[in-house]
C-alpha cells in the first residue's frame, strides 16, 4: 500500500464530504431565510418589507409567513429543538426514525445525511440572518421611505449589502464548523473522509486516519482565505 493509494482512497471520501458541504449550503442558505422570515414575523421593519400593495413571490412568502402568528411559534420551536440537540442524534433519527415509527423504507444514506444537515444548518443560518437583519437600524428603512424609494428598492439598494456584511463573519464560522461536521455522517455509514481513513485500520495502518486531518485543514484553510478576502472587500464601509 503506497502513499499514493492512501491519497486516492481518501480523495474518494473527500469528494463525498465536499459534496455534502456544498449541497448543504445550496439548500440551507435559502431555507434558512424562509425560517428566519417565519421566526421574525410581526417584527416591524419586516412587516414594512412585506407590506401591502406589492406583487411577486417575495411578497407572497413574507406576507403568508408574516400574517400567520403560529408560524412564528412553530419556527422558533423547530430552531430550539434543532439547536438544542446533537447533530449526530438528528442524523440517526432522520435515518432510522421513519422506518421505526411508520415502517417507511429507509432513505438512501447520503440523502438522509443531507436532509439532516440542510435542516440543521438552515436553523443556525436563520438565527444568523435574524441577527443581521435586526442589527440594521430602522432609520435605514425610513431614509429610503422618505426618499420615495419603493420597498423593493430599499431592500436591494440599501439593506441587502449591509445585511451581507453583517452575516459574513458569523456565516464564516458556521462554514468552518460544517466542514468538520461532515465527519458525523459516518454514524450511518456514509463513506466520507474519516470513514475512508478508518478503513485502513483493518489493514493495520492507523496513520491514514490521522492524515485525513490534513485534508480538513486544507479545506477549512481555503475557506478561511476566501472569507477573509470577502470580508476585506466589504470593509470599506461601516454599517
Amino acid at each position: 500500500m503506497s502513499f499514493w493509494d492512501v491519497n486516492v482512497t481518501l480523495m474518494k471520501g473527500l469528494v463525498v464530504s465536499v459534496e455534502l458541504f456544498f449541497l448543504t449550503l445550496l439548500f440551507a442558505i435559502p431555507l434558512g431565510l424562509v425560517i428566519c422570515l417565519g421566526s421574525m414575523n410581526g417584527w416591524r421593519p419586516l412587516r414594512f418589507l412585506a407590506g401591502r400593495g406589492r406583487s411577486g413571490g417575495a411578497r407572497a412568502v413574507c406576507g403568508a409567513l408574516g400574517s400567520f402568528m403560529p408560524v412564528r411559534a412553530v419556527c422558533r420551536l423547530v430552531v430550539w429543538i434543532i439547536r438544542g440537540t446533537p447533530l449526530m442524534l438528528q442524523i440517526l433519527v432522520v435515518y432510522f426514525g421513519p422506518g421505526l415509527m411508520f415502517h417507511w423504507p429507509l432513505l438512501p444514506r447520503f440523502t438522509a445525511a443531507l436532509l439532516t444537515f440542510v435542516i440543521n444548518y438552515a436553523c443556525y443560518f436563520s438565527e444568523i440572518y435574524r441577527g443581521g437583519i435586526q442589527a440594521i437600524p430602522r432609520g435605514q428603512y425610513e431614509a429610503g421611505q422618505v426618499l420615495g424609494m419603493t420597498r423593493a428598492q430599499t431592500f436591494f439598494h440599501v439593506i441587502l449589502l449591509q445585511l451581507i456584511k453583517n452575516v459574513v463573519p458569523p456565516m464564516g464560522n458556521e462554514l468552518i464548523t460544517l466542514v468538520k461536521d461532515t465527519a458525523l455522517v459516518r454514524v450511518i455509514s456514509v463513506y466520507e473522509l474519516i470513514w475512508m481513513g478508518e478503513s485502513f485500520i483493518r489493514k493495520g495502518f492507523i496513520w491514514p486516519l490521522f492524515y485525513t486531518g490534513v485534508f480538513y485543514l486544507a479545506f477549512s484553510g481555503l475557506l478561511t482565505l476566501l472569507l477573509g478576502w470577502f470580508e476585506k472587500k466589504l470593509s470599506y464601509f461601516r454599517a
Partner: protein
C-alpha cells in the same frame, strides 16, 4: 393660500395619546420652528407629517391637495402613499446616511432610482443620469462638501454627515423640508456648520419645519414658532412673541431652563 395645512392631527401609541389635535399652517417660503421639552410629541408630529407614522385622525393639505387623510389612509395603495411622501423631505437627528455609498452616491441614489420611472428614461438615459450627477454635485457644493464627494459616511464628521443628509433630502426637490433636531447628535463645535446651511436655505426661501433645541437659531431663522407641550400646541407666534414676550407660563418655564444654562 398656505402651502401646508395641518388639521386636527391625533396620534396614539397603544394607550398613550401623543398628539392631541394639532393644527397649523405654513406659507410658501416660510420657516416654522417647533420647540418643546422632550416627550412633548415633536418627533411624532414630524413623523406624521412626513408619513413615516400614520396619524389616527386629521388631514394634511399641501398646496390645496390632500396628501394625508386619516379617513382614507387605509384605502390608498403603497404607490399612492409613496408619491405623496415625496412632497416632504426629512433630515433625521442621526443622519441615517447609507453607509455603503459615498457622498455623491448617497445624494444621487434616490433620484437615479426615481428617474427610472420616467417614460423617456431608456431613450435619454445618459442625459438624465448626467443631469442628476450635475445637480447632485451642485447640492454637495452648496453644503460645502465638494472635497468629500468620494468619501464614505464613516470617514466624515457628524456635521459633515448631516450636511450630506440635507443635500440628499434636497435632491428629491421636496416642497417642504423637515428637520428633527438636526444638531442634537452633534458635538457643540459642529452645530454651527449645519445651522448655517439651514440658514442659507431659509435665505433662499425653502419652506421648512425645524424641530430644534437651538433657541437662538430658532429665533433668527423662523417666521413662526410653535411651542409643544403634552401633545398640544401650547403657544404659537412670531419669534418675538415667543422668545421676547412669552405669555404662557409653561413656555416661560421652558425658555427659562435654557437661559439658566446660558443658552
Amino acid at each position: 393660500m398656505p402651502i401646508l395645512e395641518v388639521q386636527n392631527i391625533h396620534k396614539r401609541f397603544g394607550r398613550t395619546e401623543v398628539l392631541k389635535g394639532i393644527d397649523f399652517s405654513l406659507e410658501q417660503g416660510q420657516v416654522l420652528s417647533i420647540i418643546g421639552s422632550s416627550g412633548s410629541g415633536k418627533t411624532t408630529l414630524l413623523r406624521c407629517i412626513t408619513q413615516l407614522e400614520q396619524a389616527d385622525r386629521g388631514r394634511i393639505i399641501v398646496s390645496g391637495r390632500t396628501v394625508f387623510d386619516a379617513g382614507e389612509a387605509l384605502t390608498l395603495t403603497k404607490e399612492e402613499k409613496r408619491q405623496r411622501q415625496l412632497t416632504f423631505g426629512m433630515v433625521f437627528q442621526s443622519f441615517h446616511l447609507f453607509p455603503q455609498y459615498n457622498v455623491l452616491e448617497n445624494v444621487t441614489l434616490a433620484t437615479r432610482l426615481h428617474a427610472r420611472e420616467l417614460p423617456d428614461f431608456s431613450a435619454r438615459k445618459a442625459e438624465i443620469l448626467s443631469e442628476i450627477d450635475r445637480e447632485a454635485r451642485e447640492l454637495i457644493a452648496s453644503v460645502g462638501l465638494s472635497e468629500k464627494l468620494k468619501n464614505y459616511p464613516c470617514e466624515l464628521s457628524g456635521g459633515q454627515q448631516q450636511r450630506v443628509a440635507i443635500a440628499r433630502a434636497l435632491a428629491m426637490k421636496p416642497q417642504i423640508l423637515c428637520f428633527d433636531e438636526p444638531t442634537s447628535a452633534l458635538d457643540p463645535e459642529l452645530t454651527g456648520e449645519v445651522l448655517s446651511v439651514i440658514k442659507s436655505l431659509a435665505n433662499r426661501h425653502m419652506t421648512m419645519i425645524i424641530v430644534t433645541h437651538e433657541m437662538r437659531f430658532a429665533r433668527e431663522v423662523s417666521d413662526q414658532v410653535l411651542f409643544m407641550d403634552g401633545g398640544h400646541i401650547r403657544a404659537r407666534g412670531t419669534p418675538e412673541e415667543i422668545f421676547l414676550h412669552p405669555e404662557d407660563p409653561r413656555l416661560r418655564d421652558f425658555l427659562g431652563s435654557f437661559q439658566d444654562r446660558g443658552l
